[in-house]
Each structure stands twice: as C-alpha cells, then as structure tokens.
C-alpha cells in the first residue's frame, strides 16, 4: 500500500481538524486547482503578536489536498507569517509523515499552504514580494 493512504492520512481525511470557518478572520481566501477540481476556503486569525492563532478550512478535494489542509491547520498555530512564507513542499511532505509525492500530487498537497500564503499577503500580513 502506498504511503498516501496510510492510516494517518486517512484519519485526517475522514476526520478533518479545524473544519469550518473562523469568526472574524484576518485571512479569508478561496483557492482551487482548476485542473483537478480541488477547492478550499481557508480562514485564519492572528493573535496580538501577529502569530497565527487559529486556522480553519472547508472544501472538497482528494485525500492529499484535504488531509494536508487538516494537518496544516494544526501545524501553523503559533507561527509568524514569515515562518509560513518560508515553508515549502519539503515541509508539507514532512508534515504528512515523510511521504514522497509524485509530480501530479504536488499541487494537491500544497493547496492549503499556498492559500494561507496568498491570504496572508492579501491581508497585508506579508510583503507582496515574499516568495510564495
């Protein structure tokens, strides 16, 4: 059985953490992968120090996109927008238990992270020229 459908992944897929929307969000963004039909609505709130206090998401998509969103919603609490801007595919793969993603699934896995990065930019929490 491939890494993608291990219990850890399926648990996050069937029982997503932080599923829904944050009240009074600082970040509020919709993003999709038009070629595969994954969609996410991601909201986040920052605390007074500018750290991520809470992330929630809702959407539809494959195991990879939804489980990675669920994991990310836990992983990023307490991080600064700059910490998040510095996260990349490697971090997402580590977060998912060290899976190696095939090229076709990279976009699915990074959907939530890219949504959060863009949402932070749009909310003015990250400089526009930050790599994301």
């Amino acid at each position: 059985m491939s890494d993608l459908y291990r219990e850890y992944m399926l648990d996050h897929y069937h029982n997503p953490r932080n599923y829904g929307a944050v009240d009074g969000p600082d970040v509020d963004i919709d993003m999709d992968n038009p070629t595969c039909g994954d969609k996410i609505h991601l909201t986040a709130r920052l605390d007074d120090d500018g750290h991520i206090a809470e992330v929630q998401f809702e959407g539809q998509g494959c195991v990879v996109s939804m489980a990675s969103a669920s994991m990310l919603s836990e992983e990023v609490v307490g991080k600064t927008p700059e910490d998040i801007a510095a996260m990349d595919l490697e971090d997402v793969q580590d977060m998912m238990g060290g899976v190696r993603l095939s090229m076709g699934r990279v976009k699915c896995a990074t959907l939530a992270l890219n949504a959060l990065k863009r949402g932070l930019k749009e909310a003015g929490k990250l400089a526009d020229d930050t790599e994301a």
Binding site: M1, S2, L4, Y5, L10, Y13, H14, P34, T35, C36, G37, D38, K39, Q60, G61, C62, V63, V64, S65, R105, C108
Partner: protein
Amino acid sequence: MNLVVEEIRSEFPIFQRKIHGKRLVYLDSAASAQKPRVVIDAMRKVYEQSYANVHRGIYTLAEEATEAYEGVREKVARFINAPESAEIINVRNATEGLNLVAYAWGEDNIEAGDRIVVTEMEHHSNLVPWQQLAQRKGADLAYVGLTDGGELDLESLANLLEDGRVKVLACSMMSNVLGTIPPIRSIVEMAHQAGALVVVDAAQAAPHVPVDVRALGADFLAFSGHKLGAPGVGILWGRRKILESMRPFLYGGDMIRRVEKHRAVWNDVPYKFEAGTPPIAEVVGLGAALDFLSHVGMYAVRQHEEMLVAHAMAQLLDVPGLRIYGPGPALRGGAVSFTLDGIHPHDIASILDEEGVCIRAGLHCAEPLHARFNLPATARASFYIYNGEDDVRALVVGLHKVIKILGRG
C-alpha cells in the same frame, strides 16, 4: 469480423511492461494511445535509412524522405475519404489545426455582431480559440446545450441558427468526457442551411469510428495522430476552395513561392499552411498507424469498442455509489467518465495505479461541460482496440479496493 484483443495487444510493445509488478491495464487512450510496433519501426527506419529534409533536396535521401512524407498525405486522404490529398494539412495536433482555422479563416470572416456557435461538450481546444476570436471581433459566442443524458440539444441549435447570424459552428464528433457521438451529419446540414461553416473536432472520433468527410459534408475537420497510435502529429482537412481563400497561419520557409524584400507570394495548398521543417518521421509514423488501423478495419474497431463499452458500463454500474455520465453504448465512443460517491477522482486514479490500471482524473480539458453537470471532477476510463474484458475486470476489482480503502462504511 471480430477483433482478437490478444493478437492486437501483442502488436504493442508497451504491454510487456509491468506497473508495480502488475499487468499494464491502459485505460487512458482518450488522452493518448499506445503505439504499435509497426509505427515505432517505421519511424526508426526513417532515421536509420532515409532521413533528410523534405521538398528541397535533389539527392537520394531527400527524395526518399519527401516521397515517404508526401505518401502519407495520400493515406490520410483515403482514411477520411477526402476528395484530394492537397486538402490534407500536417499540423502538430488537432489543437493546432483548430487554431489554424480560428485564425486563418476567422480573422477575415468574423465581424462584430456575427455569432460563433460551439457546444457545451467541447474540449477546450475547440472552444477557447473560438471564444478568443469572438472576443477579438466583438462577435457573440453561443453554446448548443446538452440534455441531462449528455446528448446535444438540437432544438437549442435550431434556435441559435434561426436569425442567420451564425457564421461558424464548431462541434466535436465525439465527446472526450461523455463519449457522446452527436448526429453530426444532421448538425452539418442544419448549419449549412443557415449559411454557417462547420468545423469538426475529430480528435476523439478519428481513432474510433469511420470518418468520411464527403459523407459528413463539413468544411473543416481536425484530428491528432497520437490518439490513434501515431506519434505527435495532427491533421487538418479543409475544403480546397476555402483553404485557398484563406491567409496563411504561420510564415516561414516552404510556405512561400517567392520572397522579395518587401513582399512575398504564398505557396499552393497545402504547403501554404506548412511553414518550416515538418515532423518528417512522425508523419511517416502516422502513415504506418493508418495502415495498421485500416488493416484492422475501422468498422471492426467501432464494433469492438461498442461491445466493450456496453460490457464495461454494465459491470461498472454494479459498483456501489458509482455514477456514469453520458449516453448509452450505441450513442457513445470509448470514453466512460464516472464518479464514486464521496471519493475524489484523484484518489481513485492513485489507488488504481497501484493495480497497474491507468485512468485519468480531473476535468479532462472540458471545464464548461463539468460545470453543466455540476461536477468538480470525474474519473475517466477510455477504451481502445487493445483493451478487452480482462481490463474491465481489473478496473472493477480496483474500484472495489478504492472503496475498501476510502469508503467510510
């Protein structure tokens, strides 16, 4: 004549390959088909024995290459029953052929206020070129609708044609998602009566059903070689009179008769539309693929696929939570798109891959079609001459595994 799958399959070297230790079950021919040995050999022969640039050289190799390249034009003309080989234009793929028409014909023939008609089941390649042409010209772009059963709504076409503003109708001969085979002859007749030209996208049809451009009566028809077992090369057929009236699409060598510093005179059709060095070995490979298909017989191909698709649809409908989109086997080709309740098509494709089963998941370059049926994505199994009931069995077994892994119950 019944087609013997084992014999056909043995002509395709790739089926010796194992995927994750399993037999290769290739169900993605609607995206691109596998290549028979004769095609690979024909291309190798070009490179090993007769390669040179075409048309210009006067030495033996160049003459052999030109003869091989031009000979395929005749084969293509026979394959689609075109009146003459001068109407056969070699392009990169169906997409390029359709773009050629949208630019080289569209730029001079579409004006503000004209209407361009496409259908809701078009692949993006027969939709976006027209959408962008309409935008450039200030023309209307209108859609022939689809019924819930995935057939074209001809009443909506009749309504669109009524006021005589339609200049061109672009229509697929077989949907790459629903498999729908529309009544293209009636559609052409309706459009012609209203004074519109008809551009047929035969990318899905040409590999699977007999195509006869004279019987169809259309004005342009495009298809891709790679979907019928040839390498990456495409064909655009057009009526000579219209082709001659059109401006070139790409400019450069081979498409000109004379060039002066400030003016140029175009070559005759089809060369006017073949600028630059063409894909020589690929075209020869296309010739070998057409010989192969003609040997099998396109009626036998169609009969085999109709039977196989009927079998596949019956088997698939026994899988719990599985829904198939599009019409029944008699009105469709080899593409069968489906969803499994609560399971994303990507996951279906990933788990099937572990079983050696190759299917496609996503929007299949047909976003408006998916929007019409309110589908975020579908999984698609598509069949060709090398597929048999054993492949359907592997697909169904794989789908049960998908449900076992991802189903909540």
